[in-house]
Amino acid sequence: MRATVWMDKTHVEVQDVPDPQILNARDAIVKISSTAICGSDLHLYNGFIPTMRKGDILGHEFMGEVVEIGSAVTTLKVGDRVVVPFPIACGGCGACERGLTSVCENSNPNATMAEKVMGHATAGIFGYSHMLGGFPGGQAEYARVPFADVGPFKVADDIPDEQVLFLSDILPTGYMGAEMCDLTPGDVVAVWGAGPVGQFAIASARLLGADRVIAIDRFPYRLRMARDGAGATDVINYEDVPVLEALDDLTAGRGPDACIDAAGLESHIDVGPLQAYDRAKQLVMAETDRPHALREAIMACANGGVVSVIGVYGGFVDKFPMGAFMNRSLRMRSGQCHVHRYMEPLMERIRSGELDPSFVITHRMSLEDAPRGYQMFRDKEDNCEKVVLSP
């Protein structure tokens, strides 16, 4: 089959690789109809996540048709149309029982590696390094899906791929980002990053009752989408305006009740002599600046508020403003999304017309064009927001 393969830092290729085979009795093989490139793939692409190997198949957002099932799979049959959640979860461990599927205790055969870097292991994830299991991803024609009786979510034939594909990751992720804010009516939410994840965090914060949702980014086209597509009430272009001042302005000095980091470990550093950066830098004593959005979110958050981290971090962070965090009674919530528990309720919102996640799609390409898709998405070329690939 054809598959998108990680060759080296910023080098992916579409290659011929062997077809997947059933390895466990609870596996299914899915023939992929649509798959997408995620901001997390960019972290792998740019070489920030350790334990990638040449030859690894990428991709963790995919859907398609079940074409083969293992002997222990009773809940699916060949021909079913399914969306596959990106964390692999067994359904039987303590974490899965509590709905924390992204920290499933059984799905990562390389748990030892993950423990080394993170203290305890997390779930296996499709196409997301060896530390997270060494599972091939779904930017391919076919994928093996372990625990197929737990993960794949059946969808009816009458709803287009583009409306349900993002149930695999970014829609639930954005939703969880907003849900973790424990919003009450009247709350103000600020979202760093108007990428696809940020867009869905904004839309979800609105759905969950936030009065005011402020999008922060530097790409005008993304901020436009945040306002027109996701429903942000205000936007801040951090290249034009000092973020902390702007947020204080919008909230009469309180700061947002909840701050969502949807930018992650590659958050951009403004090296220009802008007031915003200078002030933030002064405040947080930035050194290598890598968790820039996170630091700013902490500094901005209202006393007693919530910092919700859905942007991905891989290792260690410097100059974490612990004093602000501790003294101002902030709370932090985070996690890779526990996708499984959100699929059904979000599907209902899609069916009812409350949500149409397809608004983030700007580029549709053939799987063969994946390398170009990665580069465009990374460089935000041609107003690229989200790339969907068809094998």
Binding site: T112, K116, V117
Partner: protein, 312 residues
């Protein structure tokens, strides 16, 4: 230093070796390529200097620092690699801003140097521990232990283990355990160099739903014993399982080979086995990925297959 101490240290070191080496071999090639395979410019030359300079310092101090310094070193390796990537990005971004660029390059070089040093020290430490042999100079017991929480009731977890014939399902070295009918169990395991080793063992003590202890009898090529304890986990979280194994390899070549086989990171092997035990009870099978087709096996960390299907 007593045997126990030495073994513990050895075990520690070996555990770190197989784990750490995994992280290094998987994570570091990228970093090393970035460092060494890069074009020859001021940045890479600076890196080379640091590489050479830092080497002696760290190799000298790394090994002696504290109880399990390698843990820290490996953690640092991971951190350094992330740092490096970050700095690389900054460097790419700052473009023509000469001043910033210069500073970043210096920082990159510094971090690169430290990474190389950490790697060296961690590898060095691990290698030393591997060489620091228990082999050759006589008998020395190898002890291995581990614990896991299994999300099943104590009765079920106990019963599964008590049927020793189940053990090969999650113990990779053990090919089979057969009840001989006289209260004695015949174990057959993979020995070194493709040899099979067999021995008989008795259950020496047990209390239903609490513990099982066994001990090899007679002419076992590797005298060994084990004890597993079961305890209900708090708040209905299943069963806490704690295992302790001892191997007493004989003097001589076979003993040395066996000791090596069983002795390579013994705690880690027990942890791998318990992980598979948990998987079997909670999910019905040992979980496999294309990168680690045989399921949880930390030795795989040094030789991961790529995450793509194996040829049919």
């Amino acid at each position: 230093m007593g045997n126990d101490d030495r073994t513990r240290r050895l075990v520690n070191g070996l555990g770190l070796f197989s784990l750490g080496l995994g992280v290094a071999q998987l994570a570091a090639p990228g970093a090393m390529n970035r460092l060494i395979g890069a074009k020859d410019d001021t940045r890479t030359r600076a890196v080379q200097r640091w590489l050479g300079g830092a080497r002696e310092v760290v190799a000298g101090t790394g090994i002696e620092s504290g109880r399990s310094p390698a843990v820290w070193l490996w953690t640092r390796v991971a951190g350094d690699i992330v740092d490096l990537g970050m700095l690389g990005t900054v460097l790419g971004r700052s473009g023509r801003r000469a001043k910033t660029r210069g500073r970043t390059a210096v920082a990159t070089a510094a971090v690169a140097g430290v990474t190389a040093a950490d790697l060296l020290a961690a590898l060095r430490l691990s290698r030393d521990d591997t060489d620091a042999g228990y082999l050759g100079n006589g008998r020395r017991g190898i002890e291995a232990k581990g614990a896991v929480t299994v999300n099943r009731p104590v009765g079920e977890v106990f019963a599964y283990w008590r049927d020793l014939e189940n053990l090969p399902r999650f113990m990779t070295h053990v090919q089979s355990v057969r009840h001989r009918g006289d209260g004695r169990w015949r174990w057959r395991a993979n020995g070194p160099a493709g040899m099979d080793v067999e021995w008989d063992a008795d259950i020496t003590e047990e209390r239903t739903d609490e513990f099982i202890a066994w001990q090899s009898v007679g002419e076992a090529s590797v005298a060994n014993s084990g004890r597993v304890e079961f305890r209900p986990a708090p708040r209905g979280r299943g069963t806490e399982v704690r295992v302790r194994l001892t191997y007493d390899p004989p003097v001589g070549k076979l003993g040395a080979a066996v000791a090596k086989l069983f002795g390579a990171a013994p705690d880690q092997q027990v942890r791998d086995e318990l992980r598979r035990f948990k998987q079997v009870l909670e999910t019905g099978e040992v979980v496999r990925s294309e990168g680690t087709p045989e399921g949880a096996k930390s030795r795989r960390t040094v030789a991961q297959r790529p995450a793509q299907p194996a040829p049919a």
